[in-house]
Subunit: 184 residues, 2 copies
């Protein structure tokens, strides 16, 4: 194995054992028996090590700044469209399904997914919106709406949702996400 | 194995091979090498054979008539509360997670879940509400909201959703379900 592959194998071990929050680039480097600077050199942040270790083609958080900037009234629609686009990409969907499957299999996989999504996605949205504590539940419920759509559309392939256009879904669901996020 | 166990093993084989719609009590009886009348005697309908084969403690559809009767304005809340109650029950949740896991693993498991939920749950709601074709997508999206809540609350255990009370969830989500189902 080349060094990159050794680091990714070490990362999978470390994330599976400790979850996302408690795992560190330093510990991953230790398991891989390389210098932490080399992990940073290859991947950058912990978030990017995670995405690479899970074979995700990009880091979901990369697209957030664009979604979170712009007018507040269009936030629900922008967030929903980003989510639908990402899941329409089979290169993203297949590895993401593996992460989801591991979450349904035991607490370790669940912790990994919970902490990654909680910190890198929902945490950033909450910070950008300056959400009060009460708003965190609404943010979870917005995430639940979107995750449920991904599951029924791409995994269970429930009709007519599986064949609906993005615009048809947005027309019904964007107002829901907007209401959950901003109360309007 | 006693006859009941033989029938359930045959049912699991039949549902996994053909999905829910194409499977029949007659074919299950044939695989089990018993008379179809015996399957009916032990379990009743195909829906009940399915629930027993998947180790569900009850048939979700059993609770629907009560939810679907009563005033239309309270339908979203009643449906959501039924769903939350059912998933709060570990005896239901664990086998249901096994069904969900099998749906994320391959098309056969997905077809089984899709057809069972489509026919025995969503189909009945659509019939009771006399939904137009356009309403079917909204019904899928209501299901997506609820399935996503089950996943994040009980599997991924995302906070604060995992610890939220049923009433807190209902306060935010019941209006969504109501809007999806009746457009109000």
């Amino acid at each position: 194995m080349d060094t990159r592959a050794v680091i990714l194998a070490a990362a999978r071990t470390e994330f599976a054992a400790k979850g996302y929050d408690a795992a560190s680039v330093r510990a991953i480097a230790r398991v891989a028996a390389v210098d932490p600077a080399l992990v940073h050199h290859f991947f950058g942040t912990k978030e990017r090590v995670f995405a690479a270790a899970m074979a995700l083609p990009f880091t979901p958080g990369d697209r957030l700044p664009e979604v979170l900037s712009g007018d507040r009234d269009g936030l629900g629609e922008r967030l929903l469209r980003m989510f639908l686009d990402v899941w329409a990409d089979a290169d993203f969907r297949e590895p993401m399904l593996a992460v989801l499957r591991s979450a349904t299999t035991g607490e370790r996989g669940a912790a990994m997914l919970r902490e990654f999504v909680g910190r890198e996605l929902l945490g950033r949205v909450a910070d950008a919106l300056d959400l009060p504590a009460e708003g965190r539940l609404r943010l979870n419920l917005a995430a639940a709406q979107m995750v449920g759509i991904a599951l029924l559309r791409h995994v269970v392939r429930m009709e007519p949702l599986a064949s609906a256009s993005e615009d048809e879904i947005v027309a019904v669901v964007a107002p829901t996400i907007q209401r959950y996020l901003t109360g309007t």
